[in-house]
Symmetry: C3
């Protein structure tokens, strides 16, 4: 039997935390209440009323109360899933007991919130036996309140070396009859505490990139049918940096990320979706430069790559410190090596439809052509690239489409924005391809 995802969402782009109780406000639940009313691209796939680090320890009992109140009032209308984070620590039985008390309180069906809650987020987990302790508390609570066993999801924050090691055990442990770990949903990296736990130091105090942690989280999610989410990006002003981090994550199979503000939510909801228009990139001194489109031609107007026509079908190209004399064919070949294309949603749908038609007609592999007119220093060059598509290419290309479909099905509140972005026609075709 293949691993089946047991949850409604196959993809989660955004994990947005809100403090549950803020001191010194008239209404300590103000931030919860505001978050609960987010809609559209500013509303996350998973909203996390955060009764742990975002809330002062002395405010957490009030926070648990606020969670119940706000979700009972606004939960039914919230467009994403709701997964409160409650306290937990692998090294503190007192904290774990407090977790159990908050669980009992928040999940009490008489309070009217639990039917709107999809699951809970458990921070600071240790090795797999520690995960089982949290799972057991949730099982007891489900049983106590007559909820179906395993119906509440459990997501964990991976923020210790022990928890990272546990990621390799999930697939084996999730099948065992003495636990309900099949309730697992999100594996979320928590790099600030992980950095502390690993005792890492950087000169500026910035976080290390933790490539291996992110890989291992993504792999653990893949092997156990779960969803991998990256931790918070602290520098809220730095939108470009946030996008670079997301692109890096996506190449690891980690398609979701923590968001700290509605602005970050909107960026992160958008990031793993294909762009609305395709673009050509030119490699200039080891960096990829986006070419600007003018009347269907793609123009490089920097000074670091130069091109001149030196005679009949003769060109001189200077790039990366090299200067070369080339004929037209050599030039096109050379520029093909230096360029790459980022397909739009429409392009991906086109290619998939074309491959599906070819398969229908009995072909196993076809060449997809992509051509463009480049303009460098006023000189026009036609380039054209064939890429072979077979079943594997087709399936790998499908990930952004499956993601798009998952979003569109589960987030009606984003339909308008998505249709405005891509156009109705592309959205319709994207929903039936694959």
């Amino acid at each position: 039997m293949s691993i089946e995802r047991r949850h409604d969402r196959e993809f989660v782009r955004t994990f947005f935390t809100s403090p549950t109780a803020v001191k010194g406000e008239d209404d300590s639940a103000k931030m919860l209440r505001r978050a609960a009313q987010l809609r559209g691209m500013q509303a996350p796939d998973v909203w996390v009323p955060d009764n742990e680090d975002a809330t002062a320890p002395s405010m957490r009992d009030e926070g648990a109360e606020n969670i119940v109140d706000v979700i009972a009032e606004h939960g039914a209308d919230f467009p994403g899933e709701i997964h409160p984070r409650i306290v937990w620590h692998r090294d503190s039985p007192a904290t774990r007991y407090r977790c159990f008390e908050h669980l009992l309180e928040i999940a009490d069906p008489e309070r009217g919130a639990i039917e709107r809650i999809d699951g809970f987020v458990i921070p600071e987990v240790g090795d797999i036996d520690d995960w089982k302790k949290a799972d057991e508390f949730i099982t007891i609570v489900e049983n106590e309140y007559g909820l179906e066993e395993g119906s509440l999801a459990m997501s964990v924050i991976v923020e210790s070396g022990e928890a990272e090691l546990a990621l390799a055990d999930l697939r084996e442990e999730m099948g065992k009859p003495s636990n309900n770990l099949e309730r697992l949903f999100l594996l979320v990296d928590g790099e600030v505490d992980y950095t502390k736990d690993m005792r890492a130091i950087t000169p500026t105090g910035g976080l290390p990139p933790w490539d291996e942690l992110r890989h291992n989280t993504s792999r653990g999610a893949s092997a156990a049918g779960l969803i991998a989410i990256d931790g918070p990006y602290d520098d809220i002003r730095d939108v470009e940096g946030y996008h670079e981090r997301m692109t890096d994550n996506q190449a690891k199979g980690m398609l979701g990320i923590w968001s700290l503000t509605p602005g970050q939510v909107a960026e992160a909801n958008r990031s793993p979706l294909p762009p609305e228009t395709g673009s050509w990139l030119l490699e200039v001194n080891g960096r990829e430069v986006d070419l600007s489109e003018e009347d269907g031609r793609y123009v490089y107007d920097g000074g670091d790559v130069t091109l001149e026509e030196t005679g009949d079908d003769q060109y001189r190209l200077r790039a990366g410190g090299d200067e070369r004399d080339l004929d037209g064919d050599e030039l096109a070949e050379e520029l093909l090596d230096l360029t790459s294309y980022i397909p739009s949603l429409n392009d991906i749908v086109d290619s998939m439809e074309e491959f599906e038609a070819a398969k229908e007609a009995g072909k196993g592999a076809i060449a997809m052509e992509r051509s463009a007119t480049l303009v460098i220093d006023g000189v026009e060059v036609e380039i054209s690239n064939d890429r072979m598509w077979d079943e594997a290419t087709y399936q790998a290309a499908q990930t952004p489409i499956t993601l798009f479909q998952d979003v569109y099905e589960n987030r009606p509140d984003q339909h308008e924005e998505l249709e405005e972005l891509y156009g109705d026609d592309v959205v319709d075709r994207a929903m039936v391809v694959g």
Copy 2:
């Protein structure tokens, strides 16, 4: 007891796949037949008649027939090993049953192919228990046909997170009496399907680098006495990119790579062998530039590092944005830091012989000197470097020599090309050193 390699080859440079049956040709086995007749540097160490992804699903029964026919006819003369790939999927019992049927068909001794087949390649494996299922089918087939148990090798394609996790279990599982996993031979990464399984996305649709997967494959191979092979490099035109990938792989201990064409086979057979001549590299703006040799001197003729003599034993060096005034010793020291040397096969043999003689004479460590005359902007500078060699350095340097010896012993069809490349004398000395 140390891990012993159970197979003839200790190293495999090339894993070349051929479609087993192509529709619309007079002879559907044409590509198999052509591949079976490759010789010399164009012939792979391991040839893989590919009855999985390279062949259309509807053609695979005919493909199994073609495998038998072509190997029965040409297998005896093929200079490399022969390991057909047959269908398998961790999530599909139907595909696994089809695997068993093809195994029974291809391995039937009456058909005359099995005595020329070294083993089988199993794609799409899952966790270790899934590997055992394939192993068990091969055991049954061996028993049915009177072949020695464990005599058929089994190689796997690692193309899922589950299979990547299984790499850590091999050493422990291979010893167990209830399986014959000692038949394992190659661990081959399959990055296209792995990318799909990990649900990774890149803007251009290109494959992520998957550094951790390659490390874990190489480490799994090292711990279990197996051989690690990287997956296909799709862009067949891009010879430079293929070489960069191989250099990167080799630094991870992954010395073999998939090849899609005889041209790629020739490049990949050559890549892990030491070069025929040594060369000096100069670091220029963070990149390594190959210096051109002229009359035994190594000349930099780019413009990004400049040198002038400003007085008696006084020099001005400009490199990496810095300008510095140095005397002759300081200059030599500085240039030593900026240069590195790539030794030839002859250089490596020289150093090993020198260390062996020193060891014979009772010394545990000796300094190996390497000197050269550099020319920058017409100014000549002598540099000289001492590197300490001890037993560990000696043994680490031995890997390319052991590889060379393995190739030379197992591939008589490449003797002529190797002797032409390196000269008879160097080849003879390389075969006795170490």
Copy 3:
């Protein structure tokens, strides 16, 4: 129960090996004797009389004798810990037996050395069962000589794929009643032999970076309460390269490194401690350039970033190939993105004190401001950055302070040098904060 460190040192910066017996000297123990008398920043946290690779095989029996003699004479006064390395190999029972003999000899209480020895270093370990064999020999020796079981530490050199895999088993195996693996202390990478074991090849013969090995070692140490140490850096002349390697290690949580000379010891003892003065970095073409301080302002005097005032509150900034016209606020914002600050020990202590006071006053998070005057092409710009500190930030920032405190408590011989470097006041405050 949380993992407790069972050893005196929570941090080890330096692991310094000395040959135990050198042929052809009047006193074969000369190098041991010299090393035993190092003090201050040149003396390592862990000194390793090396009866394995640093000593010729034929000299190792004499080496074991020298270890006993020199430690009996000088051990009581040595300021760091003493952990001799003795022979071992996962693949050789003969070598393991020799290990046992040397253990019995060196640990004999009548010889007067063992009371000064903190533990032993075991090289070339294999999988976890192999580690247990070494542990068992130490247990027998402890019992034989009336030493407390588990009182001798055991450190291992991770230099094989098998040993790297064992790092994931430590936490589980260390609790078992049939071993004394709680004696484990340091996990030390040995990249030269690891490279050989992984059969990796680089063109120049230099070592691969082995990022994943270092991560896995650091994670294994973190999960099991141990200390991770990187292997030797061969190029002794290359101080800058040694520092770059240490900075890279520190970002992985690997705070200690092997040292081959007292000069390297001094550099490595210094490297993980915060600097004595803070500094501003400017990102120039992808690299970080240290700005020079002049009268409290930070000046960039390279030519790759240019700035001019073009009008009233109008500026033109050229950086990274881009030219932009900005008003004063935009300019400050842009430069803030391009700069980062490396805090001094004093800065870190300041921030921690400030956060502690805020916490005392009931606040969970505060903004830490950092401002500076930058000068580019004579134009002055004020920049100012707020960073939010919460409990997690505070605790992650604490690592260098905890390290400093551990050093100061355990190494009285370095007090003078530390006070000279940082000033008495900063040292006193650093010892009470946190």
